[in-house]
Symmetry: C2
Subunit: 206 residues, 2 copies
DNA sequence: GTCTATAGATCGATAGAC
DNA sequence: GTCTATCGATCTATAGAC
């Protein structure tokens, strides 16, 4: 083994640790929030020593931001993958209701996405820049894609597509938030399909 | 001063401490969340000793629940006060848009309400019973009042008033959440009036 | 780079004086 | 009932060996 081989091997090992730390920290932060997560827990979850965590990420706040920026980048990719399937479907009513059904299914049984939203909202007071990163890289692209779609269908005769998109997104987000995140499923039960049908009808029969 | 006078005086003092502790704890919990708030901070904020906090509320979790139940009760009263002003207005379009304008104004510049929502959502994973208390005592009554109103106006010809109410509430909540709580005001700017007009038109021109 | 061991501060909670 | 003082655990972060 040459000297440069050893360098590569060690760099690879170090990068593997970085990944393990990010992964362990992600699990802990999503589960317990920023203040509720200790660096000991992170180290244990990543199966490295606490000193290694510090040598890779400096301090707790920096690690938290790294984890969350990774997650934001992840959600950005997911949003962008919604761009292509502008299906050949012509009927906006079918397309809209199909889009929302898909969105709802993707979120409703996705615990880790709900944990992500919980952290973004819960820590938005103490980490405003994190919240802004979410708005810039997740909410804004989603709004733009939906607005672009609504605008490309003048047959809908929407007076204000931008505001209409907010109605759509708000309806979906609030539904998942109330039923799942806030555990309202059994207290104020409601079928997601009813909400989607109502919203679709409101928009297409305006 | 008789013995019973002294008892009254001391009971009054003790009750004043209870109030001070609840008030100080409320400030701290709303600002820093559950894990981010220490009992030392609470004691300092309430200007009592830490031992007094413990003698009144047992432990931290109990104090947190007491504070949040107080807040939930508060919001419940606010929701209920919306019941009466079923104005003499006949035009649902005017009533709806007026109601939502009022709701938005009440929330949009209300930092403490936003902090409250942040905690409810942020802690809903570790305090599911608190989230359920919110749904039972704030979200559900609001939904019921709005549903009752929509149902009392058959002229609106709504196919599904229950689901329509979710669209309304989701739109309002998401708007405030994105613009204010998540600091999106400058990133995805939008006039609240446009959202209200769009929503009102969708519902009344359906 | 990674570990063990530990410093120094702060945590939740309590004992004991008044 | 309320305080000061303190306990033991846990916290963030680092020093020093390998």
């Amino acid at each position: 083994m040459t000297k440069s081989d050893r360098q590569i091997s060690e760099r690879t090992k170090s990068e593997a640790k970085t990944t393990a730390i990010l992964s362990g920290a992600m699990k802990e932060f999503l589960q317990n929030g920023y203040a509720g997560t200790s660096m000991d827990k992170v180290a244990k979850s990543a199966r490295v020593s606490k000193a290694t965590v510090y040598s890779h990420f400096g301090d707790k706040e920096n690690l938290f931001n790294a984890v969350m920026q990774d997650l934001v980048k992840d959600k950005f990719q997911q949003v962008m993958s919604l761009e292509k399937p502008q299906s050949l479907e012509q009927d906006p009513q079918v397309v809209l209701s199909g889009m929302m059904t898909k969105m709802l299914a993707n979120i409703q049984n996705n615990r880790s996405f709900q944990d992500f939203m919980r952290i973004i909202i819960g820590e938005s007071g103490r980490f405003p820049e994190l919240a802004k990163a979410y708005v810039n890289n997740v909410a804004k692209p989603t709004i733009e894609i939906l607005t672009k779609y609504l605008k490309s269908h003048p047959a809908l005769e929407l007076a204000d597509p931008e505001a209409t998109v907010r109605v759509m997104m708000g309806t979906m987000v609030y539904f998942v938030m109330l039923q799942e995140m806030l555990h309202g499923k059994d207290i104020v039960p409601l079928e997601g399909d009813r909400v989607i049908k109502t919203l679709t009808d409101l928009i297409t029969e305006g």
